[in-house]
């Protein structure tokens, strides 16, 4: 087990957003965190990665220096203006106290399908390419655990497919991937386990197939509609 979150609670303006969440992130799994907009997915993940502090509860990490072992792709494109893809990766590697060789950086660029764009200014890349560069930044320090926040949002089918392949490839390499998505077909295709959050609580968690069987539904989309409807959305 890599991370254990116990009884996480968070409030904003006296309104409780996260209402006592418990979950674990296991080694070498692809975990999808799903739920309606405003359900508390991002807040939960932000607490886990250390961006926000929980009001109540605790998070236990498998190592003390967990920041060095986690790679994060945020929804924004955090690139340095005026630097190309290669330079951005070198710079971010240095933030993790890693001095990479040109070959190592090129390998990450190739893995993310950006090698031919290594000399292109990051701000001049297309939306899909910027998303891939954000993922490359998350991978540059060879992390054990990778958080991807809506990695395929607003991408065309080909770009989505490429990112799906990349996630599968990372999983095959023994990495743990946690991602958020609103696309249930994508979640069904990739995730080995899901956590469904609604109104600040976990309403379901487990393997997608088993969950569908238990709730007697055909697919994840039906399960999502059934459970979130029950939750009052």
């Amino acid at each position: 087990m890599l991370i254990q979150a116990k009884n996480l609670r968070k409030s904003y303006n006296k309104r409780q957003i996260i209402k006592g969440i418990n979950f674990e992130i296991h080694s070498n799994e692809i975990l999808a965190v799903i739920g309606p907009n405003g359900a508390g997915k991002s807040t939960t993940l932000e607490m886990v990665i250390g961006l926000r502090k929980a009001d109540v509860g605790e998070i236990n990490y498998w190592v003390n220096n967990y920041k060095e072992k986690i790679g994060i792709q945020l929804q924004s494109f955090p690139f340095f203006v005026g630097l190309n893809s290669y330079e951005n990766l070198m710079l971010f590697a240095s933030f993790y106290k890693r001095k990479l060789t040109e070959k190592e950086v090129n390998e990450v660029l190739k893995m993310c399908g950006l090698y031919h764009l290594r000399k292109t200014d990051a701000s001049k890349l297309s939306g899909g390419q910027q998303k891939r560069l954000a993922i490359a930044i998350a991978l540059i320090h060879n992390p054990e655990l990778i958080f991807l926040d809506e990695p395929t949002a607003a991408l065309d089918p080909r770009a989505r497919q490429e990112i799906h392949e990349l996630i599968k490839h990372l999983h095959q390499q023994g990495k743990t991937v946690v991602f958020t998505s609103h696309d249930m077909a994508e979640v069904e295709k990739l995730a080995t386990r899901i956590i469904m959050i609604d109104q600040g609580k976990i309403i379901a968690q487990g393997e997608p197939e088993k969950l569908c069987k238990t709730h007697n539904v055909l697919n994840l989309e039906e399960l999502y509609l059934q459970l979130t409807k029950k939750g009052g959305n």
Partner: protein, 252 residues
């Protein structure tokens, strides 16, 4: 680590064409133009030191304000918070890199003026000017940092910069004498760092070192004040993103 970050920050700063225009090309054009129109020796001396100081303020203040604003807007600081890299170390290296380029730009502007108008300068005056420009760039850069923290959008960066820069420039003796202006204008001018910076730059060429102490002390006081303010007002991400987040949470 230091080397990679310093080199990257040099690259990103040197590729900032707009700031380069305002801190190098524009001051050079202004200096040459004014210098040939006002051809008395004392006027040309005022022009060279005044324009060199303007180059310092443009590079230091607006350059860093825009750079920090863009980086914050793109979520760079948010991501940086999740790495083992301490923000203070990153910002220190970024300021060092910008100061390095800023001082080179200032020296170029100053040297072009000195050679173009045949101003006599000793080697010691040149070295002292170089050191003073480092202090000036650091001071105005830290003020630029505060501006980037206070501004909510790019238009506000311009607004805040002008609000600070214009009184500093017009209430100083950079280009004209303040003998006949109201007392309060002179008083405000003397409270601001630009006036002391210009006078110290001029004093070094004239080898009158009595302006150097007030120059350094004012720059250091403003540097410390601005650094404290920038720490207090620092934001990891931009206001708009925070508001959007708040709205989506309230809506839920």
């Amino acid at each position: 680590m230091f080397q990679v970050i310093f080199k990257s920050m040099l690259s990103t700063s040197i590729r900032d064409k707009i700031t380069l225009f305002y801190s190098l090309a524009f001051p050079l054009m202004l200096m040459i133009g004014l210098g040939y129109y006002f051809n008395e020796d004392y006027q040309q001396l005022n022009i060279v030191t005044g324009i060199a100081a303007i180059s310092t303020i443009f590079w230091g203040m607006q350059g860093i304000a825009f750079q920090v604003y863009v980086q914050r807007n793109k979520g760079v600081y948010k991501l940086l918070k999740l790495t083992p890299m301490p923000l203070f170390s990153f910002i220190s290296i970024m300021v060092l890199a910008r100061t390095f380029i800023g001082v080179i730009i200032n020296v170029i502007v100053w040297l072009v003026g000195v050679f173009a108008f045949s101003i006599d300068v000793t080697f010691s005056a040149f070295l002292n000017t170089f050191l003073l420009m480092i202090a000036g760039t650091l001071c105005f850069t830290s003020i630029g940092f505060v501006i980037s923290n206070l501004a909510r959008n790019e238009a506000q960066i311009n607004m805040f910069s002008n609000l600070i820069q214009l009184p500093m420039i017009f209430m100083s003796e950079a280009f004209y004498s303040l003998k006949n202006v109201p007392e309060w204008v002179v008083f405000i001018g003397k409270m601001l760092p630009f006036e002391h910076y210009v006078k110290a730059l001029r004093g070094l060429i004239l080898e009158s070192h009595n302006t150097l102490l007030s120059g350094y002390s004012t720059l250091i006081i403003y540097l410390v004040l601005a650094l404290c303010l920038s720490i207090i007002t620092f934001k990891w991400d931009n206001d708009q993103e925070r508001k959007k987040l708040k709205r989506s949470r309230l809506a839920s």
